[in-house]
């Protein structure tokens, strides 16, 4: 189930049973003929119309029906994406392993929106994964900020920040001659190879800030 379907179900479930909500949603999607993975503003209006019809049949209480339809209309308006720009700045808190996946999926989505090639999307997602994993493994918690920069040269900027123990002997780690037991160096060097800009600020006992950029390249 997509996020949008889940959230529509959430809204309806406070007015009708979950099973009813599911049926109404499924039938509305079928009857409106929209692609739920790819809702344009016009699709959103068609879907809202069908949802309203379904709710009229199964939700007797007029007040509740009105409230539900209002919420659905508002939600679908906000979430139809065509022509919508991705958020300029997204921050993903990194505390546990599942946040690593969240961060890299967010990174990949942003890159897809920005028009990066598949290959570059994967490189960015991999770099984000490395940075997030380092935070989880060495710093306990931190955050990754992803920023879309539209002034030329267009790029995505990723800043991984934590207040962990800092990286000791950064130069040696980045050099590649040091075989760390843990592999943090491999992740950092790998990230540096994948990105166009790479900068590390770290202070022992105070934390680490890693800033990377990937420029949007035109497809040939």
């Amino acid at each position: 189930m997509t996020r949008i379907e889940r959230e529509i179900m959430d809204i309806m479930s406070s007015h009708v049973s979950a099973i009813m909500a599911r049926s109404i949603l499924t039938l509305s999607i079928q009857w409106s003929g929209v692609d739920i993975h790819n809702l344009s503003p016009r699709d959103a209006r068609y879907l809202t119309k069908e949802l309203r019809k379904g709710l009229q049949l199964y939700l007797r209480d007029p007040e509740g029906r009105r409230a539900c339809i209002t919420r659905l209309t508002g939600y679908l308006e906000d979430n139809a994406h065509e022509g919508k720009k991705p958020p300029k700045n997204t921050i993903v808190k990194i505390i546990e392993e599942s946040d690593i996946v969240r961060a890299r999926v967010t990174g990949r989505d942003l890159c897809a929106h920005m028009g990066f090639s598949q290959a570059d999307q994967i490189k960015v997602a991999t770099a984000v994964s490395e940075l997030a994993r380092n935070i989880v493994q060495y710093a306990n918690e931190g955050e990754i900020a992803l920023t879309v920069v539209e002034t030329k040269p267009v790029h995505i900027q990723i800043v991984a920040r934590d207040v962990g123990p800092g990286i000791e002997n950064l130069d040696i780690v980045l050099d590649g001659h040091y075989e760390s037991k843990s592999g943090m160096g491999i992740g950092l060097r790998g990230t540096r190879n994948l990105m166009d800009e790479f900068d590390v600020q770290t202070k022992r006992g105070a934390g680490t800030l890693i800033s990377v950029r990937k420029y949007l390249k035109k497809e040939w």
Binding site: E97, Q118, A119, I122, E130, G190
Partner: protein, 127 residues
């Protein structure tokens, strides 16, 4: 006691197939290494296919986990093939400088089975 999820290992003749479909956490990696070694012993498997087609991103940690599993199996005398790696993930691994050398690879499960067969035949010819 709650149900703890684990990655299924499927036996196909004398081969084992592991298809990784979820994000590998520390716990899952440890569990998978355990499960594979136990299953190899129990089934006396001769071949192992690690299918990575379901993995969205292979970062250094995941790559090392997959490589470790392959090496463990090889140490136990099991011919190992990694199958289903997305070409763009492969390009990314090379660009990162990660090393999966020493591992046989295949584009898909069918090729992996073929490779295992060839490996068995060439070993027979030599012996």
């Amino acid at each position: 006691m709650s149900e703890v999820s684990s990655i299924p290992i499927i036996k196909l003749y004398e081969n084992l197939i592991v298809s990784v479909q979820v994000a590998l956490s520390d716990r899952l990696v440890v569990q998978l290494k355990d499960d594979i070694t136990q299953k190899i012993e129990k089934t006396d498997a001769k071949g192992l296919i690690i299918d990575v087609s379901g993995i969205d991103i292979m970062d250094s940690y995941i790559s090392r986990a997959i490589r470790d599993i392959g090496l463990i199996a090889q140490l136990m005398g099991v011919r190992t093939v990694i199958s289903g790696m997305d070409p763009m993930i492969a390009m990314t691994l090379v660009e990162m400088g990660l090393d999966l050398s020493g591992m046989n690879t295949a584009l898909c499960l069918e090729s992996a089975i073929e490779i295992l067969k060839q490996m068995e035949e060439s070993e027979g010819a030599r012996g």
